[in-house]
Assembly symmetry: D2
Homo-oligomer: 337 residues x 4
Amino acid sequence: MIIIMKMNTVQQNIEAVVSRVEKAGFRTHLSVGEERTIIGVIGDERKLDRGAISRMEGVDRVVPVLRPFKLASRDFQPEDSKISINGHVFGDKKVIVMAGPCSVESLEQMRETAVAVKEAGAHLLRGGAFKPRTSPYSFQGMGEEGLKILAQVREETGLHVITEVMAPEQVDLIAQYADVLQIGTRNMQNYALLNAVGQSNKPVLLKRGMMSTIEELLMSAEYIMSNGNHKVILCERGIRTFEKYTRNTLDINAVPVLKELTHLPVVVDPSHATGKWTLVKAASKAAVAAGADGLIIEVHPNPAEALSDGEQSLKPHRFVELMSEVRRVAEAVGRTI
Amino acid sequence: MIIIMKMNTVQQNIEAVVSRVEKAGFRTHLSVGEERTIIGVIGDERKLDRGAISRMEGVDRVVPVLRPFKLASRDFQPEDSKISINGHVFGDKKVIVMAGPCSVESLEQMRETAVAVKEAGAHLLRGGAFKPRTSPYSFQGMGEEGLKILAQVREETGLHVITEVMAPEQVDLIAQYADVLQIGTRNMQNYALLNAVGQSNKPVLLKRGMMSTIEELLMSAEYIMSNGNHKVILCERGIRTFEKYTRNTLDINAVPVLKELTHLPVVVDPSHATGKWTLVKAASKAAVAAGADGLIIEVHPNPAEALSDGEQSLKPHRFVELMSEVRRVAEAVGRTI
Amino acid sequence: MIIIMKMNTVQQNIEAVVSRVEKAGFRTHLSVGEERTIIGVIGDERKLDRGAISRMEGVDRVVPVLRPFKLASRDFQPEDSKISINGHVFGDKKVIVMAGPCSVESLEQMRETAVAVKEAGAHLLRGGAFKPRTSPYSFQGMGEEGLKILAQVREETGLHVITEVMAPEQVDLIAQYADVLQIGTRNMQNYALLNAVGQSNKPVLLKRGMMSTIEELLMSAEYIMSNGNHKVILCERGIRTFEKYTRNTLDINAVPVLKELTHLPVVVDPSHATGKWTLVKAASKAAVAAGADGLIIEVHPNPAEALSDGEQSLKPHRFVELMSEVRRVAEAVGRTI
Amino acid sequence: MIIIMKMNTVQQNIEAVVSRVEKAGFRTHLSVGEERTIIGVIGDERKLDRGAISRMEGVDRVVPVLRPFKLASRDFQPEDSKISINGHVFGDKKVIVMAGPCSVESLEQMRETAVAVKEAGAHLLRGGAFKPRTSPYSFQGMGEEGLKILAQVREETGLHVITEVMAPEQVDLIAQYADVLQIGTRNMQNYALLNAVGQSNKPVLLKRGMMSTIEELLMSAEYIMSNGNHKVILCERGIRTFEKYTRNTLDINAVPVLKELTHLPVVVDPSHATGKWTLVKAASKAAVAAGADGLIIEVHPNPAEALSDGEQSLKPHRFVELMSEVRRVAEAVGRTI
């Protein structure tokens, strides 16, 4: 941590800051400039409260030096984490594809979709039983009945399933049925929920908040990991910006940035990141070209009848086409699918 | 709802859309232009799935006409809602001021703050016992012990208290101690939590998500209200933008916009909306001048020692000064404080 | 400037950075931490290229210490700048109000508006003769004919005029007619234009770019001032955010921030900052309560017939009402109008 | 255009709107709902002022139906525009690569870079002689001397050159030396400049404003095209968002969106869109995978000594590596390079 004092502040203020920092068990290093003094803090600054020091008399700004995350950081674990689900390994050479509808609507719909996406080459099945909806008047999901449908379709097709968990008290129930727990974008900073999935032993797919920074995403991963569950898969799903032509703006930069900062696998959700099915294929190819370890894509046998997110869902034959084109890109960047 | 068809789409697509809308129980109205056909939908469109129709063959765009919220809307209740807490009425002529520290840290700290803010004219005491923190390594609040301190200080000073609830399972516990339940910015779309506070009978202060639109804020109020609890106070607390000089950008426009759209009271949190104590006074005066029904302000007897948010907390003597200046602005706009 | 080296970088990289900085005429100060070395640079860092150093081997980040602006900074001129136009002084106790239509449309329209706004208490007349429009098919302004109308109305009413300049080659022409040159939001970083108005001796009202930071606004002021023209008035006019209910988001925080950082006068444009005439009064009161030195407001005798920006223009009788309410707020914060 | 009237507005307001629209030469179509009336406008709405109608008594909202651009629209020209420079065709099967330093610094630097990028497979040489810089104290470019260096290096290497034009009065001068005129991000809405390049006969590379929507980018292209110059190449170069880890956020969605909306070629600038050289390769591959027609990349023989943008410039050997990897991706999506 570096503490930048105000121009020409009195010596007494400098001493007060130094004294406080040293009392907290850190060493300091002074750099006396022409107009300002700068105080370097030596030690693990994550244990020091930046806000409080900012507020001391004579302090202009406090600049952190260390990154605030640790377990998620590549500094502390240089090699990639590998998370295996039913033999499909996230964080390895293969690009893992999860596909399925936004919401579980019926056994027939899930079965039809599962058979189609499996045939096209998908590795996991997605589908929401508990749905976060902006409006209390929209379809809220089938609940436990939806979970049972997912389990039955897994039984029939062999595709393992990923589904969303929205509240701490749902974790145990959902963990009985699902293979991967998904934390949605609106819950990325629902700390009670992060703690709860951190205490389960299921892999967690953590979606980036639609207006959360990359660093905040990693801090939320840190919450899960600090509870003992290190099987965290990060998901870039588009951020909210001033551009309104698309539902969200896919932050493609986040893919290589995350691969630099963390050892955790990184997947992309091109369906939410664009909000329009006509753009999903291009976004998927871009994600894989940029280095994503996986994709999570909405596919629905009849999008015009979907109970949610019909605008961004692909019909099965479009998904087949997408898989074939994405495969060529994956191979071009030295991966398989 | 208005459905704009693509240029020169075939008649069959138009008929399919009309047929689907009418089967769902709505009437339609066609407007045949030179290049496009537009289909008007007559009936309560909140019951029709916009996404699914967008996805039909030949549809270019779907434009909603009605606002998606109802209980919160001024269209359905023109007169202001009034919510009384210990005789202080939100939504009336008086500007209600809530003040206190970010976190409850000790009985002494709360008692000292409560006495000071009461003397300066504050009407309620704020203080967090359960704290949402970006880092799992930061102070997470005192928990139930903090609630007990709040209750004791209420006993001693007569100031009713507002405190944050972070998870559905905390609602009952916190409702035993607190007079107003606060939903924080990261939980504005935590629907399990909104449903839970909607089933309690305590007033709820709902903070706008830092990444949420005004309409989404009203939809979250609708969640609470549709569970039966109509005592919702809305809080603008700054949004996330590209500007980084301040912690957030106070969306002052939201105050008159909300007063137009809804009958619910609207308060402003100038502490989080700026993130710097030097800006809190100017932001408070602006909020009241723009029509806010209340303010929620961080005050700490010793901000440099605060366990959270020290940068944006006012010392008690600064709060006295603020109250005096805000009072003059309140009177200039025909209100009291 | 502070240079933060990467964790465990080799000594040779540290020496290369130190050597480069010292060769450029600066002194350095090393702070050797447990994991990292930090190099403090002593001297006027504005003369050192931050980007180039960031790119050197072993460098993690470079943190500036000094603000990049100088002439505009309150550090270098603590007392407020005062800019007088026809006896009305920006940056003094009086809140200066500029009012008039978006575009000059005819002599009758300007005369009628000028008489009305003068009577209501406005100090200057605004009106655009050259109009920046998103579409090449929209009305582009009356050009020099519009300037002549402005000059004639000034003659008749005694109100001095402010009008926009869009290109360097227009500066001389417009300076013959106008009393204040306005730089629009889309031109805030049109450096050729900033240099051109910097070489004129007319006061300049510089509008903040709709997605420019406060610091960039001050850097653009610095461009004008470094050409010799110190008569710069800054204007907050709303920024672009994800919120779409309003045309822009009025960054009310920018008012007290600018008053801290610079000695230049700060005015607010509540018409563009909201985009809806129903919100202009609340925004005007908020601006003055927050410390603005002036307002620039769109008024049109018949907004529904306006050739541009009719949605946000006030009718004269609404402007009278606004002036009366804003006056009370101005007095409440110790100012006149 | 669709005009949505307020709930229960009086008949007289509806008639006034209809009358005004019809007087302007349009036909109307009324849709009378339970709570609201909606007025459809039939005819080329680009000629009708949306703002003025919005402001009429009883009008709630006005929704445009037609896109505001025409010459740039794929509706009016379905087939791709092809723009040939020295035999390299933008908008065709080949991905065109422009490479070179941010600024022209010396003949040696340009010559060394040109030879290197040509050998690596680049098709055009980039380099700025006139530089827009945030600070008036930063290096502003070599001016005409820089243009002469570009011309000489073109002579020597056969690489045609692209360089930035910042002001209308520079267009003639720069057109003497350059093969493609670049409009920078800060000038995307500098309408005087757009008109000036629209009157030249040189191809124009138009960078998206960092704060501009996709639609605004197309409107700026429309400005150039409506002056007679149809040789416009669009460039996505990253937008400004809340995320600060990268300099800008590459809006990769914009690539397929633009390919849908317009027939003009679309290129990507991965250097500015990321701001960090370590991310440029991933962003380049993503851009080509998403369908970009070209790339414009900063390459500098010695980035740490660069006079501008050193952080994001690639060394020549990194550019060689990038070209080789991008080539494989290009082939995977059916293109060459």
